[in-house]
Symmetry: C2
Subunit: 289 residues, 2 copies
């Protein structure tokens, strides 16, 4: 059930992004946007489409918000990979944008992908109700700006030159910004589209996001580069604090499992209809990449 | 009249940005956002506030859109100054963000300033009408994305390694994206806020934007670094095509003057009320920085 829907979400969002970016011409910066927004698990798009389904929103409508969050995610990866940031040559098993093109193109492609994310939410196709469109934009901006994702990135970079490793509390705050806020936006999007309460989905997503990040740290220790599709062992080599270094491998896994259970419980009010989102939560801590 | 209103716009938008960014904490990335969004002529904010005044929108409301466009403009300058882009050490007479902090902070501060621009437009304070908020966001996204400002930047970078210099048509297209689209957004914002027709303001702004850019090229030849506040003579030294190199200095000045006259004529329907915007157009081709 979950695997099928994740796969469907991935192909639908890919087709939608291809349409939208394909209409933007063929400058290298547009080619780079297309390249950077291809592939990946599409977990965020899935969360949008699935929470939309739970609230009776048609997939043809929800695809706009789903494409938006994947454009936003792609922007964050392109900039995160830059030499001045994480300096990664490989992403999803392929050369990163600044390696395949150059740094200027990577800066601009990331910039334009962020802009595109907001455009997709503000377009009338995203919702017939302008209040919903403005609300999606506002929530997105708060999730990814200097008090959300960028804050997480900035804390991450500051940690690299800090003299003392981060505490568990600090790394939790860092990750809540860096990956958690956008995952929460995604899971709540369906409720926002329907003008419904977002509290249950918020709690689900906060637990899921943290479990996701803990599992990324587990994969950085246990994974191999070919399966994971990007460099592994980097954090340990750099002496960076991670959930694994702070908790130990077994306790980190156990913490992720508890969070996933709590995420599933938070969806109680959705009954059986919430099962696919529960499967998604369990998937997060069983994945190998 | 114009000088007073430009000065008022500058101090109002500065106070508003200080409030908004000041509430975002004190991480270096937030300090860099504040630094990058300080100073400047504030022509874009003035255009927002003045077009809003023409349409009966209160300044306390229009200030949100005015602050938005200045945040967006600041983002574009921070990224444009990066070593991988124009590699400028000086902006408004001060060290650029990547010089004062580092490249990672400059990438992130620019990213978060773009996000902030969209947040300010989507906030309920920007307009009580959510349709207006969504429309401001959509127009902004189209003005600054891969078919607007980023396209202009990408064409500019491509021109640096091209074997033949740009034609007048190509440089006009480049500048329409790089600076014209955001100036047009600014001049139209007041009409959008009032739900009014934007055509006259669009034409005014297109003429004004082109005149503005021609005058920048004139200053690059005639200005000195202390008055202009950034490096001059760079374009000529780099053998880049500019309006001055293509038209000659006198014809470039004359073209800018004609455009300013046409911009003033486009405001005919505003009668005497449009006089401050006409003064603004004349200011653009009399400035020394």
């Amino acid at each position: 059930m979950f695997e099928t829907r994740l796969k469907d979400a991935a192909s639908q969002v890919q087709a939608h992004l291809d349409d939208v970016i394909g209409a933007m011409g063929d400058l290298p910066v547009v080619q780079a946007m297309s390249y950077a927004s291809a592939g990946g698990k599409r977990l965020r798009a899935f969360l949008v489409l699935e929470s939309a389904r739970l609230h009776g929103i048609a997939p043809e409508q929800a695809i706009w918000a789903a494409a938006s969050v994947e454009a936003l995610h792609a922007y964050s990866l392109v900039h995160d990979d830059l030499p001045a940031m994480d300096d990664d040559d490989l992403r999803r098993g392929l050369p990163t944008v600044h390696v395949k093109w150059d740094e200027a193109t990577a800066v601009l492609a990331g910039d334009a992908l962020q802009t595109l994310a907001f455009e997709l939410l503000a377009r009338p196709e995203a919702s017939a109700d302008p209040l919903v469109r403005a609300e999606l934009v506002l929530r997105m901006a708060r999730a990814v700006g200097a008090e959300g994702m960028v804050k997480g990135q900035a804390l991450d970079i500051a940690a690299e030159t800090a003299t003392t490793p981060l505490t568990l509390e600090q790394i939790t705050e860092l990750q809540a910004g860096k990956t958690g806020a956008l995952i929460e936006w995604s899971a709540c999007a369906g409720a926002v589209l329907a003008g419904a309460d977002t509290e249950a989905l918020s709690i689900y997503a906060q637990k899921l996001g943290l479990a996701f990040q803990i599992w990324d740290d587990v994969l950085d220790v246990e994974g191999d580069v070919e399966t994971v599709g990007k460099a592994v062992g980097k954090d340990a080599d750099a002496g960076k604090a991670t959930f694994v270094s702070l908790l130990g491998l077994d306790a980190a896994k156990s913490r992720a499992q508890t969070l996933v259970q709590e995420a599933c419980v938070a969806l109680g009010s959705y009954g059986d209809e919430g099962e696919t989102l529960r499967q998604a939560a369990r998937f997060v801590i069983s994945r190998h990449s």
